[in-house]
Subunit: 202 residues, 2 copies
Amino acid sequence: MAPTLDFWFEFASTYSYPAAMRVADAAQARAVTVRWRPFLLGPIFKAQGWDNSPFNLYPAKGRYMWRDLERICAGLDLPFVQPAVFPQNTVLAARVALLALAQDWGEDYCRALYRAEFGEGRDISKPENVAAVLTALGQDADAVMAEAQSDAIKARLRAQTEQAQRASVFGAPSFTAADGELFWGNDRLEAALEWAASAANR
Amino acid sequence: MAPTLDFWFEFASTYSYPAAMRVADAAQARAVTVRWRPFLLGPIFKAQGWDNSPFNLYPAKGRYMWRDLERICAGLDLPFVQPAVFPQNTVLAARVALLALAQDWGEDYCRALYRAEFGEGRDISKPENVAAVLTALGQDADAVMAEAQSDAIKARLRAQTEQAQRASVFGAPSFTAADGELFWGNDRLEAALEWAASAANR
């Protein structure tokens, strides 16, 4: 059985953008199966006493992050445009992701949404911008968004956020291996894959 | 003229330990000259509203950091012992570093002190532990520590901390290139060296 790695991401998380764009190829190269697990950082930040992104609460760190992200995207040949609104409300985006990931277009949706947000600077809290991504993927945007707002999906997103918290996730992107080992940050993707891939030998 | 990179470090900073242990070799491989610049994080954290290490203020992040550091040290074959006291008062340690770096044993002192703190778990806020490192390096510990507590050295450490702040440094380790480009974190050492080395071509 292929080793697995859980990829915890939040659409408001800047460093989740490069992680989401490269996790599939990186994992395939290591023969690791990735489970994409969208969750909400809001409740987790609130538990740490934050009512906003730490990048807004600590401006020096925030200014650095935007420049760092710009450099990282340039190195990966990823488009980058700093959105005017940050952080964005990602509840709808995450609910749609949960629905999509249960089908075969979930990863494409996640990548397209990240590209809209951080590659084109769009505000993905606006339903019309989520709808545009869905339409471009050949989905019935209205039907998908209606289903994404169902009680079942809402409950699943809450449950997944609680699971993230129980897995000790405190930021995004994070990665957890089957044995519970936690890695945090886009720059830990390789170490996480290495851990997961070599788990069988431990 | 060889390109230069400023290496901003603080002896209380956990991720500065692996950075300090590998920066010399990594820089030599890229033909970059490194300027070791000890500073104090205390005033910089205070300006961000913190009266303690963020790793203590945010326990989930702190628990992760210690595990992450342990993994990083294992990967680099560096000894690692979590000190009982964290963060440690590093004013004396940094003053001695300023003095030592003006001579030819400064980098050896910095590496030896980091090894004592995070490789052996010693409390380097205690003068006798700084003295032991100095003695092992063949220095007259009493004379060095007395000179390190001179008004001139005290003023230089304050000035260097202010310089770090003006360079937008908000954490440690940090690296700044001659053009002011800032990199933060042990895991950005390679990118910082790459930036400095290729500066002549921009």
